[in-house]
């Protein structure tokens, strides 16, 4: 590949992710509105929100690490997007693979954790402690699922994993070949989004929105951007692992939005779990399903 082409891909992939991610935020809000019998926000609302937050007059910083944390939270996802193949663009997906992507996706969380820590607010710190605990809960079933998929495909290279699924049409999709793993993956993916009933680390009624308690203006704006990337990354990763990726942009986006709609719809129907209940749930059902699924694969 020509270097110029690669650079354009590396720039385009995060940009696409951001735009699609904003539309996913919109979809999430529209679904919530439908379920709560409201009209919901207009099409450009996510963009308005980001612009508004960045241009606020009062921007409270609690120190350099607070700033760097937000930069890391955004930057980590921008980097992660280049490892996630989309139709027609693979970026550097072949130089990292799925394990690297999984670990690169922890960098934004680490940045956020550092930034929140610097704020010196116990609500924020409790939120981070809970968020990391949640990560310990859902990452265990998630890695079982990823193990199963990578072992079945015989590679950790996401491009190859997608190619294997596309080789025989619908029948070779991960979800058809490994349905048990696909269910386990869906549950783990839901928890990783941090939406109800798993939003233990936001918990506005208990810890005053946890990590966001000291975030104002562009700090909150940065987290908003991060959420766009997070929704995009999570659903696209699921589509790449189980739904055969995308051959065209149309079916790629259709699949991604549909996959995301499942946890989002469930989220607005449920209240919140306690931390230990999340752990118990995650370590029991998706882990069990995942192990059964892996046993089929081996």
């Amino acid at each position: 590949m020509a270097p110029m082409e690669l650079i354009i891909e590396l720039l385009l992939m995060p940009l696409v992710a951001f735009v699609v991610g904003m539309m996913m935020v919109l979809m999430m809000r529209r679904i919530a509105a439908k379920l709560q019998r409201r009209i919901g926000p207009p099409f450009f609302q996510p963009l308005y929100d980001i612009v508004k937050l960045h241009s606020k007059q009062t921007q409270i910083s609690h120190g350099l690490i607070h700033d760097i944390g937000i930069v890391m939270a955004m930057g980590g996802y921008i980097a992660a997007e280049t490892l996630l193949p989309v139709p027609g663009m693979t970026g550097i997906a072949e130089k990292g693979g799925i394990i690297t992507l999984l670990y690169l996706m922890m960098i934004p969380s680490l940045g956020l954790a550092l930034g929140v820590g610097q704020c010196a607010n116990p609500n924020g710190s409790i939120g981070i402690a809970r968020a990391l605990t949640a990560m310990l809960a859902y990452d265990i079933p998630l890695v079982i699922v990823i193990f199963g998929v990578a072992y079945a495909a015989g590679t950790t290279n996401l491009v190859d994993i997608i190619a294997v699924q596309q080789a025989g049409g619908f029948e070779t999709w991960g979800a058809v070949q490994m349905p048990v793993l696909a269910i386990a993956g869906l549950i783990a993916m839901h928890a990783s989004l941090g939406k109800q009933p798993f939003e233990i680390y936001i918990a506005p009624a208990e810890i005053a929105t946890g990590p966001m308690v000291e975030m104002s203006g562009k700090y909150l704006g940065g987290l908003f951007v991060m959420q766009c990337f997070q929704l995009y990354t999570t659903s696209v990763l699921y589509v790449s692992l189980f739904l055969g990726g995308g051959t065209t942009w149309f079916d790629f986006l259709l699949k991604s939005f549909l996959v995301l709609a499942i946890p989002v719809s469930i989220a607005y129907l449920f209240p919140r779990y306690r931390t230990e209940d999340l752990l118990r749930l995650m370590w029991k059902w998706p882990v069990m399903l995942g192990l059964i699924g892996v046993a089929f694969v081996l």
Partner: protein, 626 residues
């Protein structure tokens, strides 16, 4: 007799011990010793071809003892471990020079003993690494054990108690190793490596089992493998600062070196694989792998509960040893490379972490995670070193720990071992939780009023820390540098060699190129920074007490820091699983020994001649009858 390069190295090392012993009471002793470590490192560098597949170098010195030849030699394996040993010794010793030394002396520490113990440790480790047969290996092993004891025990009080516990374990291990050596001699008729290598393939199953258990347990004790791990954390944590950095970096890896040499190289991983455990589906190699993952998980989650920064790090040191063993036991090209690379990586970040924590103790007088907080504004560079260190320890990109763990994961995936893979990841997740607690409770959150005047660590301590941080990052960016040494170690011990590049590993089933990954990551940070600093309004820095407190006003005397019972929600669920079973096990062994010795004592203290006569007679009758 002409001196070989190896003789020069050992000679320099011996001279360093002498200098520390004779001139150690003079003031610039620390600098002298540090320079001498530097000279040793230069002598080691003259042997650098070893790290790139060069021929082994023998010592000119050999002994004949009871028909056995004792010899010393260096190959790629010895060179690799010696490099880590001398590197961590040089930097720890450098760190100790200057302000730390003065403070240590003022607070009543014995500086002479400290330098002597350090130099003895390095010297004995080099002797162990250079061993050319099982007898010289055993001599080196004993020297290392006792030198370690000296360094651990020197602080007195709690430290002596921890060191006594260590030496009890170490002696038990030495007994096992000695038994193993005797067994090898019986079956192979020689203690030379070449003779054992040929004899190993013809050994009976029972014989090999016995040897694996004896050597595995003996060397495993030094590594802190489950269930012999209890001694390590208290012993390392109580050693004076730079000493714990050195011990934490390399000391217990001597156990791994010996396992590599004896179990992997001499007995061969294939032979071990053929040892089936009756009535189960697993073999000796699976057993070792499971010991490795339990060594990863249990100490890591014990670390998470620690409230002393040094204890926390020392417990992680045990856990990380599990990754090294796991990679080696999987023993394919990637796994072995990962396990071996982790030895180097672990040494770099563990030393940096212990140094950073020692710097905090130097400035604030405490390592209690409930009595610190907010120090990032006072000690930003130390914070940065600790941050680099914990990213390495947790095994996240862009630091070097990621590469070695990635290799281990990949090998488990390739070999289709899902449970071991998941267990290894659980260890990593637990590490992330634990190290966030470490950095949060020391450097983030509220700065205490009594720490308002704390200064950054002095430069004498800062420079070695920054060098280590740089090494952690550079070997993360260009893992090909250490992977070249690792490849020649793999060759030397007869393991398959992976296809490495400067930026990582090349493989048909998924490659890794850290140069690209890190390049993109930093580009991402750059774009993030552009958005944050130029697309948003100007931010205003506020005081830490200018904070949301649910309508209350915060004042300096309000403790507004969340530190104790940090993972409360997690502990609700798993708190009950910490049962101290291994402590109980240790206690019961101790009680049993006490009981037996009491019984023995009672027997002959009574001096009852009739009783002895009667029992001897009964014994004889029983023997004759049966």
């Amino acid at each position: 007799m002409t001196l070989t390069l190896l003789d020069e190295l050992l000679l320099f090392s011996g001279v360093t011990v002498l200098v520390a012993m004779l001139l150690g009471r003079r003031l610039p002793a620390g600098w002298m010793v540090t320079i001498l470590y530097g000279i040793q490192l230069l002598a080691l560098m003259k042997m650098a071809p070893l790290g790139y597949g060069g021929e082994p170098i023998s010592s000119a010195l050999t002994f004949e003892v009871m028909g056995q030849t004792l010899s010393w030699r260096f190959d790629a394996l010895s060179w690799y471990f010696a490099l880590i040993t001398l590197g961590s010794a040089l930097l720890s010793s450098w760190y100790a020079c200057g302000e730390w030394e003065q403070r240590f002396r003022q607070s009543g520490g014995n500086l002479w003993l400290f330098h002597l113990a350090m130099t003895l440790n390095v010297f004995s480790m080099l002797i162990l690494l250079a061993s050319g047969d099982l007898l010289s290996l055993f001599i080196g092993w004993e020297l290392v054990s006792w030198a370690g004891f000296l360094l651990m025990a020197m602080a007195g009080g709690v430290a002596t108690k921890a060191a006594m516990r260590y030496i009890t374990y170490a002696m038990a291990g030495a007994m096992a190793i000695f038994g193993g050596i005797a067994l090898v001699y019986v079956s192979a008729g020689s203690l030379q490596y070449e003779a054992i290598l040929t004899a190993a393939s013809q050994m009976s199953t029972a014989h090999l089992w016995m040897l694996v258990i004896l050597f595995g347990a003996g060397f495993g004790i030094k590594m802190g493998l489950m269930p012999f791990h209890l001694w390590q954390a208290p012993a390392y944590a109580e050693t004076p600062g730079p000493g714990s950095a050195f011990l934490g970096a390399i000391s217990s890896r001597m156990g791994l070196f010996a396992i590599l040499l004896v179990l992997v190289k001499l007995f061969g991983i294939v032979n071990i694989d053929s040892l089936k455990i009756p009535f189960t589906l697993i073999d000796a190699r699976d057993l070792l792998a499971w010991i490795a993952v339990f060594t990863i998980i249990f100490p890591t989650f014990t670390a998470m509960k620690q409230n002393d920064a040094r204890q926390l790090l020392a417990w992680h040191g045990i856990g990380q040893g599990g990754y090294m063993l796991l990679g080696l036991v999987v023993a394919d090209a990637m796994g072995a490379a990962g396990g071996l690379l982790h030895v180097f990586n672990h040494a770099t970040y563990q030393a940096a972490l212990f140094m950073a924590v020692t710097a905090v103790i130097h400035r604030t007088g405490t390592a209690d995670l409930n009595k610190l907080g907010g120090l990032v504004v006072r000690m930003p560079l130390t914070f940065m070193v600790l941050l680099v260190g914990i990213i390495g320890l947790a095994g996240l990109p862009p630091m070097n720990g990621f590469v070695s763990k990635w290799l281990v994961y990949r090998s488990l995936l390739n070999e289709g071992m899902p449970l071991l893979f998941v267990a290894a990841v659980i260890g990593t997740l637990g590490t992330i939780l634990s190290v966030y607690k470490l950095i949060h409770n020391i450097f983030l959150g509220q700065l205490r009023i009594e720490h308002d005047n704390v200064k950054e660590a002095p430069w004498s301590m800062m420079i070695p820390m920054l060098i280590l941080a740089a090494i952690i990052f550079i070997t993360g960016l260009l893992p090909g540098i250490p992977l070249a040494w690792v490849a020649s170690v793999q060759q030397a011990v007869g393991l398959p060699v992976s296809d490495y590049t400067l930026g990582g590993v090349e493989s048909a089933s998924g490659s890794l190129d850290m140069i690209w990954v890190i390049g993109v990551l930093f580009a991402g940070f750059g774009i993030g920074a552009l958005i944050f600093y130029f697309a948003g309004g100007r931010s205003k820095r506020v005081h830490q007490l200018d904070n949301y407190a649910g309508g209350h006003f915060l004042t300096a005397d309000v403790r507004y820091q969340y530190s104790d019972n940090f993972y409360a929600g997690l502990m609700h669920l798993i708190g009950g699983w910490y049962r101290g079973s291994f402590l109980w096990l240790e206690q019961s062994v101790k009680s049993l020994v006490e009981f037996l010795s009491l019984g023995m004592q009672g027997l002959y203290r009574r001096a009852n001649a009739e009783f002895y006569l009667l029992s001897t007679a009964l014994f004889v009758i029983a023997w004759v009858v049966i």
